[in-house]
Symmetry: C2
Subunit: 216 residues, 2 copies
């Protein structure tokens, strides 16, 4: 498990950088998935579950982005997956150059799927193309079903919405159908998954969708 201190990317055009990184990864048969959410929505727990469930079928590496600490990367490394932690120098998002720096520290020769666990933030990460093939946003049940109304860009930029911590539905006033409708209103193409990494509910559908995006 490596820790890398990042600084703002030097290049002017993030969109060009992102396109180039995406093409390079495609040529290497590596799929990059950008995982975005609020702090504490359960991204690392979700990734841990996916890594365990797909063990022996899909080789996964994880790039953890945080302002500070390496707690998430340590959790991922303990599962035996390739894990790199980047620190964003106070920045509230990842861009393509920062993502490239993190991925460069990985040996991708046997990797099918790289997850970028973006900084916990529903706003700024949606504004930067990281070079990912797919963008997933995670919305946890305790956060509430009104989030599409307040953070629309995140829902518009995501290929999939993962409603996480579904096991907590009995304890919170979260209307799954309302959340689904609001997300689809903003983005009619978004795939919606309702999952609990704790109980395993809905994980199979999400993992099947992830596998359809792999260049295996």
């Amino acid at each position: 498990m490596k820790v890398i201190e990042l600084h703002a990317s030097i290049t002017q055009s993030n969109d060009e950088d992102a396109k180039k990184l995406r093409e390079e990864l495609t040529q290497k048969n590596v799929c990059l998935v950008n995982l975005m959410s609020s702090p504490g929505s359960g991204k690392t727990t979700l990734l841990s579950r996916i890594i365990s469930d797909l063990k022996g079928k899909v080789s996964i590496a994880v790039l953890e982005a945080d302002i500070e600490s390496a707690v998430d990367a340590e959790r991922i490394a303990s599962l035996g997956a390739i894990s790199v932690q980047v620190h964003t120098d106070g920045m509230c998002h990842m861009d393509a150059g920062m993502t490239r720096t993190g991925i460069s520290a990985m040996d991708l020769s046997n990797v099918d799927l790289v997850f970028l666990e973006n900084v916990g933030n529903l706003i700024c990460p949606a504004e930067y193309d990281t070079g990912a093939h797919k963008n997933i946003m995670v919305l946890s049940v305790p956060e509430g079903d009104d989030k599409p109304l307040k953070y629309p860009l995140m829902f518009q930029k995501s290929d999939a919405l993962v409603i996480s911590k579904a096991d907590a539905l009995p304890y919170f006033a979260f209307d799954v159908e309302k959340a689904r409708e609001r997300a689809l209103f903003l983005n009619p193409d978004i795939k919606v998954f309702v999952v609990s990494a704790k109980t395993g509910e809905g994980m199979e559908e999400l993992e099947a969708w992830l596998c359809t995006n792999l260049a295996l």
Copy 2:
């Protein structure tokens, strides 16, 4: 309930703006409290509870800051409190100039306490002095007790940490003492409150602390 579209503040020195705004409000005997947290931590529910509990004792106004929608301001207005919604033009934080614009739309003649409900974000809002007399950060139990490790600046800049949704403690692996220790390690002066706006647990202590900060 008013809705105001904001644009980036023109002035160069946010710190000077903030200091001036704070002094002006002090002269008017108005206390400004900046409430920061992740999206969905329960800021509006907490404010609703405080407004109801202090009705007849403290006159409260709320400035709601969001990228889009006015759902929070409508909830606050329905309680009979002065409520202004500002839209941040995509920006992920509030600065002193933006706060001043929002507060200017309020009739403060009978107001003791103005809450700024900042944009849901644990990173950028901590970097801007809004002119508030006190900064409060809300960390909800479902988000996890590791947040001080990952978002240290927010804990360093806050006068109080409110651990919210305490009624959910039986369902989540959240160690209150660990969260308290981690917050105090970053900021030995931070006051820690453990509350549930749903059951009322801990609200009295928080409200008493708020009242000690009022120029009544």
